[in-house]
Symmetry: C2
Subunit: 323 residues, 2 copies
């Protein structure tokens, strides 16, 4: 019998955090690509555009004028998917037609007054201000809502229409689907093994090493064993931290991102998921389409191969290298 | 208190088939769109291109020459994600690092010898030949594999690099993730209510009417109550049919698509999911990004509004109307 090699032999892997499987078919990278190529990234974004509603001093869709902010700037999304006062759909009349109330708040957070930077191009004190702002908005909205989701849609490929560096914060009266799954898995793991799933997982990855991308005194970045997106990574604090506000000043001088739920959930571990849409280059994306939507996620290189490629990247941001 | 109206008030809905929730925020359609616009569809595809590896008589990547086929044409995918003989990764050494064997077969099926048609532009007898070919490939591969997934990635937006009308067939030694969820839900529903989930669901939609798109003697097309994609639809046979090969000749003269599992599963009902990637027009897509990937699917119009818009479409295909 042939010896199994993950980089040559397709297999399926289990995601114990979200209770899902992925098909890993690394030999697929050999096929030629004749499909869609994305437009190259915008390289010249003006530092300040008075017509960009995210810029300091600009007027937004609802007529409000932004302050001349110098650090981060948080405001209510003008077209929120979640509003604080929606009435309830009432009881369902059939088990196959279940609807429930959804209330919440959607905010936008600008990271910096300039449009021509992104998080990795900002200084550590500037990034630290963003982390502090994430922690306070989590604290503020978390007092009222069981879930606060912080996310950044980065680049046109991810549907982002505004080059100004910003993220969104959606707080909801319900635990969203993915959070529910992570909640179930982490709770079950803690009760079975007596410690948080992601604490044990981080420890194992430090021992096994082949999926690590970066480690620092306080943080780990790794390609999860069960990654679905080609260059998906997971950011984990090294110690047990349930929520952003619990991060120490030293830990905040890294770049955590993510959010967390309810009160007194010791099985939770703060973490951030990164899902870059790319497969072969900055302009050839991974299409998660027919088989993925109808059957199961499928990836074309192993998580270990992805980690190796990410580790080999230069430390210097490509835009600084060009200078 | 304000009266609840689904088209104005955000709420969450439950998908009992796949055990998932979706956030419905129909008021979001009011926001202006400044994001990415897709290139318009290719309108002039040559009927025959000797360099297109899917055309009759063309040479494929592996050197094989296609026959001058006149109906459908089925062949092995030259870059299969699933191969019949992959070795097993062996037992897992830790509950957080679980991998299992995956074996299977990937095939490609051309629908028609011409590159300038798509399924809706083909004649009923031509479509019927495709349905018959789906039924036989399901029967053939289903004898060896527990799951046969038939899917069509249609258009560049869905990562399709070849305009020639074709679909793919991936058979696997494992029940894929989505199939597993549908299996669990349908099995549980049958044992609780004594009939297949999708039979009762179809009957209810026929009574409620507001999500129906098309009905015929043998088939229903509807926007499911829990639809995630803006114009997602579900195709259901009217009677209890577990698998494609069970379809009668009269039923095959419609356009069923999909696949099914194992032996003797009476709780299953044959169905096809359609997930068009569009939101506002043929060139403005729905981006399923940050919130959807990290938290929960979110849609910007209600399934009832989508059904109404789909019902209002002309019966004539837009490309025939242009003539
Ligand atoms: O049809 P292709 O080119 O083999 O591949 C396409 O469909 C597959 C199955 O949905 C995806 O995994 C690929 O990302 C996509 O490009
Ligand atoms: O950031 P926007 O423009 O509000 O919206 C974007 O992110 C949302 C949350 O992930 C998605 O639902 C939208 O489809 C996407 O266009």
């Amino acid at each position: 019998a042939t010896t199994f090699r993950a980089s040559e032999h397709q297999h399926i892997r289990y995601n114990p955090l979200q209770d899902e499987w992925v098909l890993v078919s690394a030999h697929r990278m050999k096929r030629p690509w004749q499909g869609q190529v994305e437009p190259p990234l915008l390289t010249t974004v003006p530092r300040h555009d008075p017509h960009n509603p995210l810029c300091p001093g600009a007027t937004r869709a609802n007529g409000e004028v932004n302050p001349y902010y110098e650090g981060t700037f948080l405001f209510d999304n003008d077209f929120p998917a979640l509003q604080p006062d929606a009435p309830s759909p009432g009881p369902s009349d059939h088990p196959l037609f279940q609807a429930e109330a959804a209330r919440g708040v959607c905010k936008v957070m600008c990271f910096h007054p300039w449009s021509d930077v992104t998080l990795p191009l900002m200084s550590v004190p500037e990034i630290r201000a963003v982390v502090d702002a994430w922690a306070s908005v989590t604290e503020e909205l978390g007092a009222q809502y069981p879930w606060v989701q912080i996310f950044e849609n980065k680049g046109a490929m991810m549907g982002c229409s505004n080059p100004h560096p910003h993220c969104q914060v959606w707080a909801s009266s319900f635990l969203p689907d993915v959070a529910q799954r992570e909640e179930r898995s982490q709770r079950a793991y803690q009760s079975q093994h007596g410690e948080p799933l992601l604490m044990e997982y981080g420890r194992q990855e430090l021992l096994r090493k082949d999926r690590l991308v970066l480690t620092s005194e306080h943080w780990l970045v790794l390609v999860p064993f069960w990654a679905v997106w080609p260059f998906q990574t997971l950011l984990l604090p090294r110690r047990h931290v349930r929520r952003l506000p619990e991060l120490t000043p030293a830990e905040r001088d890294g770049a955590p991102m993510g959010s967390e739920a309810g009160a007194n959930w010791d099985h939770w571990q703060l973490h951030a998921h990164y899902y870059p849409p790319l497969l072969r280059s900055a302009t050839v994306r991974k299409f998660m389409v027919g088989y993925e939507m109808l059957a199961q996620a499928q990836r074309d290189l192993t998580p270990e191969q992805a980690a190796e490629r990410l580790r080999a990247l230069p430390e210097v941001h490509y835009r600084l290298g060009q200078k």
